[in-house]
Point group: C2
Chain length 391, copies 2
């Protein structure tokens, strides 16, 4: 079903990394986060990857060495060395080593900085995330497949949505369809404070403030996991928001659709229409050379012109400050269409665009689709119609 | 359904933390990892918790402030301050601040160490994990409930297990039952290299080496997520291993059972019986005062005496070096019944014990139950019979 990363792809990724490292005067990258190692080797094992600017990369494997031997597309795969053998491998030169400080725990950092004395350690989080944000044709093809499967799952919602069911029942049914379609059970999020699998939420629960860094969090099942579906029954006339990612061959595609029993009140219908207008404007402006932040400010202006500034991407004081986010091997990749994000949109970016409106007590409406940026504009990957589905 | 942590419980936890900090000459703990903050406040929001040894704790909240106000059982809840305001809060004294270096990313560490100049930062990972490992009566009650629900789900496996279904279909059905029973969708694992939701694996796929730090990993759906269920159909006569945790009110209970169409070959049946003998020995020795490591070496000796040393907790060179692990708010808590783990079992420890045997090509068999250590021995929480179920 899923296919290995092509070797040419791995070579290109390593080349791109080396070019960026060299430009910043860094001698090599020591990659420790599993998904970063996977990106550059094709093997997601418990391991450490050394990519020198000069010379071939080496993968040191804790577990499983046998599995890494089978999966790795780089040649030099070795068992993880004893602590005392590590300094000899890196030699005596005062080299500069890149690490991804955005995810690396301090204990791991100290392990390497204590044994590799005389080396300088540099944060390459931005290099890594920027590099990862530009998808190859092969990666976009994986995401097209992911999008197609996800649309098929969303198309089945009218079959699973029943009057009186709990949000949790809807989540269970939807997640069942995702898994049966071949989606992995674990959704990767890079940010330190985030953990979520998806949202099936309704009415006032969709409007609750929350820890998730998005417009909608949900109430959840307990204070210990205060996000996602709750045991609240879904009622007639309230908006039901389903927001999930599907993971195919490691690649996430993200989308949101709105459902309701009966219909929605006119305020919500108007806000939904506005989210479609904003999506249209963003889709027209999602092209190489445009500034990420300006897509957010443009979308915010459209919301403000319609008198819905306070409801855009959350409510009042706790609104999310973005309208789209990169997706790929992780849910929260670069670029972010957000305040203070001054970088430019580039061909190969894959972005989930999600203008949403939140109304206290009533709930949340909006849309989300995933796009791939082309040389001249963008291609929409999630091709299911945007309309709310009334049952 | 789920209940808030009692305030008395939070007071006791904060007291225990302060006693341990003071003993090590640390002036306060700055807790940043969401589940650590939850443990000490009852609120899992995106926030930072300051617990001084002297004086009252303060919760600084990024998102959601409103939700933290509702959920927090400590009184002083404030919006997260601007960067420049943080030094004034901590004052000029050269205090020693505890951080959990096991999970804290270097970027976050640098943020605080750069603005709080003149302070010393100390790793309190062990303090935090040891404190968390001792469960209160209230916590054990949550885990009894979690165990009961999980046993009810396992009891339904004969209804969902169908000849010819894929491992993935079984996983989807099992996870559906977990979710419908009120289990959270996201399973917390603390270790940097780990991510998994559970296992429904069969035959040779259960014997594949893998990245997961346990006896069995599974093949998974792709090299990007090489763990858990695959699309392999389940065949007559091969062992089917289901290993999942259920999360109730934040608390995880972990168990494993074996199923098969027809029966199992005599080697596997003998190994299964041995896993039950080892479990019995471990259960007798899981009591306050015993050394964690000795439970692992004792279990290993029993496996070796039966001639199955090479198959115990994995196969050959890539065997896991433990036979049990703490569970609670995270899947991988203290204590670990493992090599080099010299600490003592204590009343209030909650431990998943999982003697398992792996046979290349054939698959894996074994058992897993979760126990709570009492003053004089232990209480088994997962009360479903251990026997393999033949269909």
């Amino acid at each position: 079903m899923s296919t290995a990363v092509p070797t040419t792809e791995i070579d290109q990724r390593l080349h791109n990394l080396r070019v960026r490292l060299e430009k910043q005067g860094i001698d090599g990258a020591l990659l420790l986060y599993p998904i970063d190692v996977y990106y550059f080797t094709g093997a997601r094992q418990n391991s450490a990857l050394w990519v020198p600017v000069e010379g071939r990369p080496t993968l040191f494997v804790k577990k499983s060495f046998q599995r890494a031997l089978k999966d790795s597309l780089i040649e030099d795969v070795r068992p993880f060395p004893a602590r005392m053998e590590i300094p000899a491998f890196f030699g005596n030169a005062a080299i500069r080593i890149g690490l991804t400080f955005d995810v690396l725990p301090v204990q791991q950092y100290h392990f390497y900085s204590n044994i590799l004395t005389g080396k300088e350690f540099i944060d390459i989080s931005a290099i890594n995330r920027e590099l990862r944000s530009i998808k190859s044709a092969w990666e976009i093809e994986q995401m097209r497949t992911s999008a197609k499967i996800l649309c098929d799952v969303f198309a089945k919602v009218p079959d699973i949505l029943k009057r009186g069911m709990r949000e949790l029942d809807l989540a269970a049914e939807f997640e069942y369809l995702l898994r049966k379609s071949g989606s992995d059970g674990y959704l990767r999020i890079r940010a330190f404070h985030q953990e979520i699998m998806g949202l099936a939420v309704s009415g006032e629960n969709a409007a609750m403030e929350g820890c998730f860094d998005g417009a909608v969090t949900g109430k959840g099942l307990s204070r210990a996991a205060p996000y996602g579906s709750s045991i609240k029954p879904i009622r007639e006339g309230e908006p039901i928001m389903i927001d999930y990612g599907l993971i195919y061959n490691g690649y996430i595609v993200d989308m949101t659709r709105i459902f309701a029993f009966g219909g929605l009140d006119p305020d919500l219908e108007r806000a939904f229409s506005l989210s479609i207008e904003i999506q249209k404007w963003l889709q027209e402006n999602l092209r190489p050379g445009n500034v990420c932040e300006e897509l957010f400010t443009g979308a915010s202006s459209l919301a403000a012109s319609a008198g819905l500034a306070d409801n855009f991407m959350g409510y009042s004081g706790e609104r999310a400050k973005f309208v789209g986010h990169g997706v790929g091997l992780e849910l929260d990749e670069f670029p972010v269409l957000a305040q203070k994000f001054k970088s430019l949109i580039a061909a190969g970016h894959t972005v989930a665009i999600e203008p949403k409106f939140v109304f206290p007590e009533k709930g949340a409406v909006g849309i989300e689709n995933t796009y791939a940026v082309t040389n001249s504009g963008c291609e929409r990957l999630t091709l299911l119609p945007d309309d709310p589905v009334y049952l």
